[in-house]
Every structure is written in C-alpha cells, then in structure tokens.
C-alpha cells in the first residue's frame, strides 16, 4: 500500500509542502513528532517533522537539499510515496507553562503552527518569532499568526520585518517579560546560538534535533546525540531535548557524515530526472 500525495505546493524559495494521505499517522500525530518516508523502492528513509495533521492527511514541509528532498519536491498531486511511517518520537511537552515563546528558523518555521496551537489550547500565552535569510524564505507566517498572541518576523537582510536574528528579539523579550518556556526549531547552528540567550535567565528551552536517522524506531543508533554527557537516541528519546544540555558540535559533525555521497546522489538525480516525464532509471 502506498500513500497518495493530495496537495503539493511550493511555499517559498526551495521550500515545498506536501499533504500526504496517511491516516495511521495523521490520526495519532501530536506537536513535536516526526514521520519517516521512503519515496520508492531504491529510496532512503528520511525523517521529517509533522507540520500539520487533518483528518487522514499529514503535512510535511521541507527545503530541497539532497536527492530525496529534491525528488519529493517534484511529486505532484496523485503521485504516491511508497512508505510513510509514524508518528514517531515523543510529543512536545504541552502543559500550562504560562508564557511560551516559539522560535523558528528557515524551514523549521513549519514545525511551529501545530506546536503554537497545542500550547494555546493548553491555556498558554504564545509569542512567535520567526526568522529567515530573506523574505523569499519566510513561510507560513499567516498561519502562524492565527495561533500566536504575538508574532515577530525577522530577516537577516532586512527584506521584511525586523532586520536581524530571532535571538536578538528573544533577548529583548527575556529582558522585558516573564517567559516560562521556549521552543527553538531550525538549523543546528541557529538552535545552538539562539538557545544561548536563555541560559542567563534559566528558562526551560527545548530544541528539536535532526540528526541522520535510518529506522527512526530506536533500532540502529544512527541518530545518537550527547545530552548532558549521556548518549541518547533522538528518534525515541527525543527529538526534543533541553537545549542547554546538547553537545552541538557533535550533532553538527554527525549531520555531515556523508557529504560526498549526498552530492553524488543529487548529481545523479539531476542527470536522470526528466522534467517532462518524471524520474527514470537507465
């Protein structure tokens, strides 16, 4: 049984959203969880955060980086994904925290609407801060606005909103207001730097880690990360962890295990992918 693509849209530069018919995932998905997809028989298993779930459909949002995400971006309505497994990982710790700040960088912004909504539904006041290199990489701002009491938009180049980084806004908010919990989701380097801001204030800060995975069910250990000096598996112990306890350098190293293979795979895909008729093998 394969899983049908019900909606496919490009939502920003190099960023795409797909709604996939996968009832077993959609019906049980919570904020903070992910799924694992494998597009076809020769495909790789890759984890993607669940960005939204509605009835039988689940949404993923991704930036084209390597072969699999590039291939995913070419899928059209009616195309099928061979395997969709999930939901996986622990849901976000949703409770009545008080004032929560959710921060998204780049494609990580896509994880925020479901999280902001869950936090609001649990009675929290939610501030959203989203950042991207430029306006063209910003996504889901309108959707997020609906689930935040306040939303601040930042761009590195000043093309929209605040000219600067989410960390700058976070620092201001930490000075001005009482913040009870912070979520930061984005590229590892952005999560590392942004989460430093909350250390002096001793505010509980969660990050969603995205190391390389294979099975996603605790079986292989590919996704191991060091948290407070202890080895954890991001797939079953996470993917969310206390930002202040993460060994960031190790995570970033482990995300770059296969640079040459990733490049080779993508180049081959571009050579063989035919814009008119889809993917074909020689």
């Amino acid at each position: 049984m394969a899983y049908k693509v019900e909606k496919a849209t490009q939502i920003a530069d190099n960023i795409f959203e797909l709604w996939i018919n996968a009832p077993h995932v959609a019906k049980n998905a919570h904020a903070g969880q992910f799924l694992v997809i494998r597009i076809d028989d020769s495909g790789e298993r890759i984890p993607l955060t669940i960005s939204a779930a509605k009835e039988d459909l689940v949404r993923i949002v991704f930036m084209t980086v390597g072969k699999t995400t590039t291939y995913l971006s070419k899928l059209k309505v009616g195309d099928e994904i061979l395997d969709v497994a999930g939901p996986l990982g622990h849901p976000s710790e949703i409770k009545e925290w008080g004032h929560c700040v959710v921060i998204g960088g780049g494609v990580g912004i896509a994880c925020l609407p479901i999280l902001a909504k869950a936090l609001q539904d649990a009675g929290n006041r939610v501030t959203g801060i989203i950042g991207a290199r430029n306006e063209k990489l910003l996504l889901l701002a309108d959707e997020l606005e609906e689930n935040c009491d306040e939303l601040v938009i930042c761009t590195d180049d000043g093309s929209r909103g605040f000219h600067g980084f989410p960390a700058d806004i976070l620092k201001q908010k930490l000075e001005d207001k009482n913040i009870d919990a912070v979520w930061i989701i984005g590229p590892a380097i952005m999560m590392k730097i942004t989460s430093m801001a909350t250390i002096p204030y001793n505010v509980k800060t969660f990050v969603s880690l995205n190391p390389i995975m294979v099975d996603g069910t605790g079986m292989c250990g590919s996704c191991r990360v060091t948290i407070d000096g202890e080895t954890k598996f991001a797939c079953v112990d996470g993917p969310e962890f206390d930002a202040h306890l993460v060994d960031w350098d190790e995570l970033m190293n482990r995300q770059r295990i296969y640079p040459e293979q990733e490049k080779q795979s993508l180049e081959l895909f571009h050579e063989h992918y035919c814009e008119c008729g889809g993917h074909h093998h020689e």
């Binding site: 298993r45 969709v84 294979v214 605790g218 250990g221 191991r224 060091t226 190293n253 770059r256």
Partner: protein
C-alpha cells in the same frame, strides 16, 4: 554442504552454502536410526517430527516431508539455514556419539528448498473463530505466532514498524547467509494463511495502546532492537556504527549498491568489528564484501567465541583477521574515525558465565592501536523499549525485558510475549519456540 570458493564469494552477497542434492539428501536420510525416543525432537525448540520427515525423505516423498515439517514450523528454509543445529537437534543425535550426527539442518533446508521450487501448498486452516489477535513485530517470533494463530482460525493482524516484514531476518542476517528471496517466500506462506500485515505501523504511536488492547489477544514480538554501545571515548565519531545500523544500511537499504540505492554507508578501507557473536561475524563478513581489510576484536580467546563454529570458519576463510584477547579502550580521530586503541587481555578464573574472566594486561606492551576508518560495535542488543514503556502494568525485568511465564503470558491479561523481547537476544529458533508456546496458550484462552 558445498560452499562457494571464498575468493569468489567475498565479491558478492550471494549465498555461501549451496545445499545438498536429492541424492545426497536421500543418502543422508538413510543414516537416521529412527530412534524410538528421538532425542533430536527434544533438542528442537519447536519440536519438529524429525524422524518423521527424514523417513519421508528416505522414501523420496519430499512433499510429505515438507508437510510434516510445516505442521510445527512455517519457516523451514530459514531455520534450515540459521539454526544452531549443532547445539540443538544434531547435538542430541545418538549417531553423534560415535560418528557424525545426521545432518538434520541440511535436510530441513533441502526439503524447504525443494517445496519452494515445486510449489508450496498452504496448510489446512481451521474454521474462522471470530476472534481477533494482534501480533506486534514480524520477526521470527511474530511470524510464528501469527501462523499458529491463523491456522487455529483467528483473524490475525501483524503490525510492523519498518517497510519490510521479517525483523532481524530482513535487516540483520546478510543475504549470503539467508537470501532475502527465501525470507520473503516464507513470509508469503504465512500471509497466505489469511494473516493481515500492516507495514509502517509503530504500535504505541500509529496504533494507540488502548486500540491494541482491544484485540481479543495480543502477542508482543518486538525483539531486541536496542543496540548497546561500549561507552568508550570516541564512540560518536563519524564512522562508528552499531552492528544494527551497519547491517540495516546494507541488508535492508542496500547501501552496498549505492548510488543505485540512495542509502549510503561509509566505505571503510579498514574496518574494526567489536564482538564475537554471530552478529559480529555477519558484520565482519559484510565489511569484507565491501572490500575492506577487517579486524574482529574479541576480548576472550578464539575458542571462547560465542558465534557458531561454522560462521567463524566462514569468516576466517574470507580473510577476516581475528584479534582475540583484546579490548578496545578508545576510538580516535575527529570528526571521523582514524583508529582504535586496545588493551591486550589475559584470562583469569572463570566468571559468572563459566568462562575465563578476561582481565586487562598491564605495562606499555599491553596497549596497541589499529588504524581503521570504520568501527562496528556488535556487542549485543536489549529489548526495544518503545512500546513496552508505554504499556502501564506490564511487568518488566531489570534489562527491560517483558516478564512472562512459561506460556508466554505477561502481567496484563490477554497480552503474551515471546522472542527476544522476553528472553533478551537469543536465536531465531528459540524465539520461534517461545512464540509457539505463547500461541498455544492464546489458542487455549480463546477456546
């Protein structure tokens, strides 16, 4: 059993053992003493009627032989290949006292292969009972339980978290020891009994625990998937794999055929495999086939290796270099692996396991370093905690294993468990034996 030339076989993943011919099978079967009280049957965890099927081979009625085996074992081509027969059926054979035991494993495999080539016929299924049974995990335990329960007439659904069924048979055991086509064919036989298979379903996540418990009976066969790591410095460097990851990348995801398949694996030119069990042998032999120089580092002596003797022999023939009485202390490099530091071990008095206790030697000669770019840790697995940690009231042991009675019954009424989730890492056939007992108990409960 004839084996392929090591010089040739280390360049591919095709099966090493070639099986026996019709003639040799009949000849071997004729050696059976047809004991009145056959010890071989007692030695078999699923109690196959061994003298019965061997007698049928002797009569050249291979179809009958297959049917006799399948009464007790729906996975004979798998068991004929991976069972440690030398410690089980063959280990008990009275002929073994004075000469060689009957090669029961080879005969089982012969019959299964013969049947597959000549068209397998599904066994009889009892009238539908209207009861629903959930089986979690599609490895040897889950498949066996599912087959037994489906034959009793229950509606069985197997939930599998990966995209392929078979558990360790699929992701763990390499195809040169157990060809994937054979695993698929035997799984298909189980599915032909009317068993429903739901892939990509993680029970506890895709199916809430309450929904699982709504079945008339539940069998947990989620295996021992959680890999152990040594806890030494440098373990999270790029190039250090658990055996599970290394084998999964290759057996399940075909990383040996990258970039035809998308999943990569570091193509190490020098690989250290740590451990001495069957999983370590599999990892070392896979690494050889990827073209690497392979060291197998084991802390005890070669004669203490827990792997099957046959697999050790295969590994040696294929050029795996054994570094025994050595224990890794540190993996060096950064960000990728560049070497592994070890200390030589000497054997002292027997420890709890009855084997000599290895103790690190002292002095500067005791330390040595191997230059390697990949390290594979094959030092064991523990029960996968994902589902069982979500089940309140499920009594578990210190190592995370589910506690069961001799029928496989857990502390939750109508929930049974078997295989590695209950026993910790063991053999395929032991898992099947547990599953058969649990299935029998479930059948009794549902009567």
């Amino acid at each position: 059993m004839s084996k392929r030339d090591p010089k040739i076989r280390i360049h591919d993943f095709d099966e090493v053992d070639q099986g026996i011919s019709d003639q040799n099978a009949v000849l071997e079967a004729s050696r059976c003493m047809e004991c009145v009280r056959p010890l071989c049957v007692k030695g078999c965890p699923v109690n196959i009627d061994i003298p019965g099927f061997i007698a049928a081979i002797n009569e050249r009625d291979f179809r009958l032989a297959a049917n006799i085996i399948k009464k007790d074992n729906m996975l004979p081509a798998i068991c004929g290949r991976v069972c440690p027969q030398e410690n089980q059926c063959e280990g008990k054979c009275v002929l073994g006292i004075k000469e060689k035991p009957v090669r029961i494993g080879a005969l089982e495999r012969f019959v299964a292969d013969w049947e597959r080539k000549n068209g397998a016929r599904p066994p009889h299924i009892a009238k539908h009972t209207g009861k629903r049974v959930a089986v979690v995990g599609s490895g040897p335990a889950g498949l066996t339980a599912a087959a037994e329960l489906a034959r009793a007439g229950h509606k069985v659904t197997i939930f599998e978290s990966l995209h392929a069924a078979g558990g360790v048979l699929t992701y763990g055991i390499p195809s040169f020891r157990l060809p994937k086509g054979i695993v698929r064919a035997e799984i298909d036989q189980v599915l032909k009994l009317g068993v429903e298979l739901k892939l990509n379903h993680i029970v506890g996540r895709s199916i809430p625990v309450e929904e699982l418990l709504s079945y008339d009976a539940v069998f947990l066969g989620t295996g021992a998937g959680l890999p152990s790591f040594m806890g030494i410095e440098g373990e999270n460097l790029n190039g250090v794999y658990s055996a599970n990851e290394f084998l999964t990348r290759i057996n399940l995801m075909h990383a040996n055929r990258f970039p035809e398949y998308d999943t990569p694996v570091i193509n190490g030119s020098r690989v250290a495999v740590i451990g001495g069990g069957n999983v370590a042998m599999d990892s070392a032999r896979v690494a050889r086939r990827m073209g690497a120089k392979v060291y197998l580092i084991y802390r005890r002596r070669e004669e203490d290796l827990p792997a099957r003797e046959e697999e050790v022999k295969n590994a040696i023939e294929e050029g795996v270099e054994f570094v025994c009485c050595a224990n890794p202390t540190k993996i060096t490099g950064g960000p990728s692996v560049s070497g592994i530091e070890c200390v030589r071990m000497e054997m002292c008095d027997a420890d709890d396991s009855g084997r000599p206790r290895p103790v690190p030697m002292e002095g500067k000669d005791a330390k040595f370093t191997l230059n390697v770019d990949v390290v594979v840790e094959a030092i064991g697995q523990s029960p996968n905690p994902l589902l069982v940690s979500l089940m309140d009231n499920l009594e578990r042991g210190k190592k995370g294993n589910v506690i069961v009675d001799e029928d496989g019954k857990t502390s939750i009424p109508h929930v049974f468990a078997g295989g590695d989730i209950a026993t910790g890492a063991a053999t395929v056939i032991e898992a099947m034996g547990n599953a058969k007992k649990a299935a029998a108990a479930i059948n009794k409960m549902l009567e």
